[in-house]
């Protein structure tokens, strides 16, 4: 058996220089050794692959038309063998992706890994962040129930407030005065074709840039200590990545079992008793927009577009503003404080939005 495998390996190696590829992929030195803090990127890749697999399985049964989207989703839940679990895994996988993106970005920010020479990796990473959020936004509409319909309506209305391109974007996405067949078709195409292609391209570029600049390594420790601990990517970091991926997989499965997807009534232009709200990871922004200071046309623009836009621009400009070579987060108090304020702010506003539900009736 081993001799046969060796023959196959040699055959492939002769043609595509497998040994060099293997050396590049697995023998990459990691300054300071393998760490659990480095697993987030691999976990993101794993979640994306699983989303693609479950997404393809769902597409075997899903019909992207306003007449059949709801019924076909209900069919997946109630009739297809294990369909309810696959759909629930896909649903929770999208949330896990958002959480993991936040964890990955936090780790890069706190470890100062966006600094020279890794600015381009950071910028491409921000692009990937945008794609992940777009995945969540477009996928939410597809079941075509009241929750999906109204979350999209709220999201598109927020988008409409963007100066210059807002009106065009909102009209393009909706494809009519109210969400309907055109909206569903466009969201479906963006969700299953444009975004996966964009994500694969940017993720490849992200990995290439990461490998070109090399891992940043720990922000503490003498050069002798780091040298002593330096290790190759295989086997220890690979092992840590596999364990983390398994833990993420099991956590998503658990969530799918604890809280499986249950649809509301089929989408209608009348919200009835339903109080429209976006997905949970946009709830903090939704709650912020309820504040009196953000009421009115200008206030809504300020809260929905200007502040999030300025924040994103700040993230883009971050490696060019913060040019100090210091990476130790405990010696960068402004960075630590800013991260804490943003994280706590998002957390408090999200919980506030959940508590706010009681006061809506």
């Amino acid at each position: 058996m081993n001799a046969l495998l060796q023959k196959v390996y040699d055959f492939v190696d002769e043609r595509i220089d497998l040994k060099t590829l293997e050396a590049k992929m697995m023998r990459e030195p990691i300054k300071g050794g393998s760490r659990w803090a480095y697993v987030f990127g691999s976990c993101l890749l794993f979640i994306f692959i699983m989303q693609a697999v479950t997404g393809v399985l769902l597409m075997f049964y899903y019909i992207p038309s306003a007449d059949h989207a709801y019924a076909s989703t209900q069919f997946i839940i109630h009739e297809v063998d294990y369909g309810w679990f696959i759909l629930s895994y896909h649903f929770w996988g999208s949330s896990a992706m958002v959480v993991m993106v936040f964890a990955h970005m936090s780790q890069v920010f706190l470890w100062g890994a966006y600094k020279t020479p890794r600015e381009m990796t950071w910028l491409v990473g921000l692009g990937l962040f945008g794609i992940v959020m777009a995945f969540g936004f477009t996928g939410y509409l597809l079941p075509w129930d009241q929750r999906a319909y109204w979350a999209t309506t709220v999201g598109v209305e927020i988008m409409d407030k963007t100066p210059v391109v807002g009106d065009f974007l909102a009209r393009f996405l909706k494809g009519g005065p109210t969400p309907g067949q055109m909206t569903l078709s466009r969201f479906f195409v963006i969700h299953v074709m444009i975004l996966p292609a964009a994500l694969m391209g940017l993720a490849g570029l992200h990995l290439f840039l990461f490998r070109s600049a090399g891992p940043a390594g720990p922000f503490r420790g003498t050069s002798d200590e780091l040298k002593a601990k330096t290790d190759f990517f295989f086997p220890r970091q690979v092992w840590k990545d596999i364990v983390a991926m398994a833990a993420v997989f099991l956590a998503i499965c658990s969530l799918a079992l604890i809280e499986p997807v249950q649809l509301l009534e089929q989408a209608t232009p009348d919200p009835g008793d339903y109080h429209p709200e976006p997905e949970w990871y946009f709830l903090f922004l939704f709650q912020l927009l309820r504040w009196k200071v953000f009421s009115g046309e200008f206030g809504q623009f300020l809260g929905a577009i200007a502040i999030p836009g300025a924040f994103m621009l700040l993230l883009v400009a971050l490696p060019f503003i913060d040019r100090s070579p210091e990476r130790n987060i405990f010696k960068r108090p402004i960075a630590l404080l800013s991260w804490a304020v943003v994280t706590i702010g998002i957390l408090v506003l999200t919980v506030s939005a959940i508590l706010n539900r009681e006061f809506l009736d």
Partner: protein, 282 residues
Amino acid sequence: MPHPVDTISSVKLAWAIAWSAFWTGFPFKIIVALLLLTAEIPPWEGAGLVTLLVLSVPVDIWAVGLTARTIFLERLGMQVHGPVGLGLWWQGAALGVVVLGGAYYAVGTTAAVSQKIAAAIIGVIKKIYALPIAEQITLELLIWSVPTAMVILVCLLIWLKLFGWRVKRFVMTKGQTSSESLPERVRQWDYARVPADPTLVLVSIAGVAVVLTVTFWVLLPVTTPHRHPDYPPPPSEAVKKPVKPEEMLKKTETTLAKAEAVLEAVEKEKAKEKKKPTGKGK
């Protein structure tokens, strides 16, 4: 010359062990939790919780032992011969029970008192200014959750301080200073975590993974356990008895034989009646 344990604070040492041990044991515990969920047994209450807690004990003992040895060698340059996990785990667990008991009352009281204070502050603000509901919710949440979070943090620090103190005592009495250089110590803790027979371990892991995967799909309900009211479960068909031709033939033969016997008896009866004289005659 100071002892190596004096170079690190109790809190840092305890945190390093507890944090690493938590994540080391986490994948094993979540496997148990997932299998329980698949069998529709919630792992947060009743029998599910008991199962999870009982199975977590050996996992935690192993994880504490593994991470503590690594940290002793890496940060303190010390080695402990003999078991580590059980000795540290029971001390951590005993301290955890005491601190958790205290924390239960401290956190509960703080949350209750600060919620009352928050309500009073909101009441005062409302008298001066018509506070909109969204702002009120966030403000109220901040007023009571910040002190509550602080108390939780203090309780955690108390446990870490106490556990760190016990860890230091443990390593001072049972540990020996390693005279090796840092690269050699790195090699030692690397090898400490590499199994003696990697092939055997890989095959075992693969085998366990296959068994767990099969168990998962066998236990997982095929259709959703949470049906939509508009999609009721299909009516269950009446169970049809399996057809057994031999039995049916025998049964038919028996029935026919019985019928024949009855018929014969009836005919005999009729014949007797015919033979009997009809009436007394004239």
